[in-house]
Amino acid sequence: MFGLNKKDTGILLVVAFLALAAPFILNPFPEGSAMAQFNAGYPDLMQRLVIFGIFAIGFNILFGLTGYLSFGHAAFLGVGSYAAIWMMKLLTMNVVPAIIVSVLFAGLFSLLVGWISLRRSGIYFSILTLAFAQMSYALAYSVLTPITGGETGLQPKYDDPRILDGTLEAGQSPRANLFGLEMNDGFELAMGNWVFTFNAGYYIAAVVMLIAFYLSIRIFRSPFGMMLRAVKSNQQRMNYTGLNTKPYTLAAFVISGMYAGLAGGLLVAMDTQVGAERMFWTASGEVVLMTILGGAGTLIGPVLGAGFIKYMENIVSKINKSVLEQWFAFMPDGIEDVMIALVYPFVGKGWHLTLGLLFMLVVIFLPGGLVEGGQRIAKMFRGKKASDDTTDASKTPAE
């Protein structure tokens, strides 16, 4: 189907199902129950999960296939975001032009950065990309304030020109839309104690993510994808086989930069504002972590990694002491206090600690990331028979 083989079609269908059913899957706990704290089925987080999924999928095309570790991809996300918000300020609140322009600008910027950075490889390449991203961040935060809004960022305002849109009614604030369908439109479905939110913005982002994911499968399975893996494996042989590695790596770099721009444009479409912090080096580091955590070079790994980190950031950081008190309320007082004292450093304001520990555990015990973890579990269930079946669904020959 869609020019994919059976196995890849399977993966695509699984991801499509997960994306479309996310409002159910992410809200497994009834409202009001103690576990409802772990529900993630609200629009903003669902949107972020798929958008950062796109970011990581794109990063994986560069890092997973060619092995070039860019430490500056957040800059492309930021450039895409700024391009998108300016389209919304100047042209229209419709998200389509914003997203197209964000991909375009990120593509151009990544072409420039890639063209320069790809003159070097290894850590030298990483530092070059890092340097570009840090310069972008520093300038966006300070001297470029007239263009970027600096510290306070940019938001669409009532009195922006927006030449394609009519003037807003007084008191209306500009809202991002897709030909009139507003991003925060939607409805809720209440089933017993469960409430499921279906949000237009999320589904738009999810469809874009599925297209992006489908394209990434196509790239992985294409001769071009094979060339990229060959670059990672042995550049010398590439050169002596009459292949010019520079345009291959540059193309991969630009494609992943465009994915980042797409993610940036979507972020703006879903949440109409940009701040320079999204270009800071830690944001670039985050996408590296997502990709490696999920499983670099695998198709589905980056999506899993992105989901995992964003979930941690948004859910675990909101657990405060009174939530813990409620969880452990059934315990006798003394034990309750001990439990709270034990758990408290790891949640709420300590969520960074949990994240750091998890990185370490995953890298130490699951070098192939979460995908490898899944494979090990699958192997345990399938028993011995599966042990020589190395072509696990989500694995690619890139491993």
Partner: protein, 254 residues
């Protein structure tokens, strides 16, 4: 007619004159060996031919065109393939993929953005790659990861990858270095077969005189960066100058 003409090539590294004034013609469809003691400049010369190094002086013409100033991949696209001392293959890829890559390079040139096509649909490439694997007796290992093969198989694969591009000139840099006797003999047989079956010129750098004398039509002896003699294998064996510079080694090896 010479397919490769090397004229007055010289190369210095700092204070070291690696190549003095090298003149060398390699005739089309011949097998030409370049021998010489360690440090004679064999590898430097080879690197000058494939674009890894640029000579300070002189010219290198391949089939009437200069190779100087071109990048390795451009020179390869002109029809020169190189086999390395330690097999350079795509270790992370499987054997079939290793084989397909030169086929693509031959068909599509140095770069093509075939990002949305499926490998599975490239039937002509698959057919050609499979044919090469059958020829090289590697077809049973097509799904094997290349880095996990034996050294001899890696060498076969590398040669096969070079041949898949139908090069006019094949450069071999000590193809049997570090090989066991049996593997060496297999490689000699393979190269002999290639020489007979294909329209191809072979240039070989080799230490192992057994290999040199089994394969080559002409031999150039390089010493201290300059060609000492160039002649047929028989004559080289008895040449006094060669004996002087190189004697012990020839006799022991032969």
């Amino acid at each position: 007619m010479a397919i490769l003409e090397v004229k007055n090539v010289g190369k210095r590294f700092g204070g070291l004159q690696a190549l003095g004034d090298v003149n060398l013609n390699i005739a089309e469809n011949s097998c030409h060996a370049i021998i010489g003691p360690n440090g004679a400049g064999k590898s430097t010369l080879l690197n000058c031919l494939v674009g890894k190094l640029t000579p300070d002086t002189g010219s290198v013409m391949f089939d009437g065109q200069s190779v100087l100033g071109r990048k390795p991949y451009e020179i390869n696209q002109m029809g020169i393939s190189r086999v390395f001392q330690t097999p350079e293959i795509f270790g992370d890829l499987n054997v079939m993929e290793n084989m397909m890559i030169p086929c693509f390079a031959k068909r599509d040139g140095a770069f093509r953005m075939h990002a949305l096509e499926s490998i599975g649909q490239e039937r002509d490439i698959i057919a050609k790659a499979e044919e090469m694997l059958v020829d090289m007796k590697l077809i049973d290992k097509r799904e094997m990861q290349a880095s996990s093969m034996s050294r001899g198989d890696k060498r076969r694969l590398e040669i096969a990858m070079c041949l898949a591009q139908d090069p006019r000139l094949l450069l071999l840099d000590e193809p049997t270095a570090g090989m066991a006797r049996a593997d060496t003999n297999n490689t000699i047989d393979l190269l002999k077969q290639i020489k007979e079956e294909r329209d191809i010129t072979i240039a070989i750098i080799e230490h192992d005189m057994h290999v040199v004398f089994s394969l080559s039509d002409r031999i150039t002896v390089l010493a201290q960066g300059t060609p000492l003699v160039e002649d047929t294998p028989d004559k080289i064996k008895g040449h006094p100058k060669v004996r002087e510079a190189y004697l012990g080694e020839i006799q022991e090896a032969a």
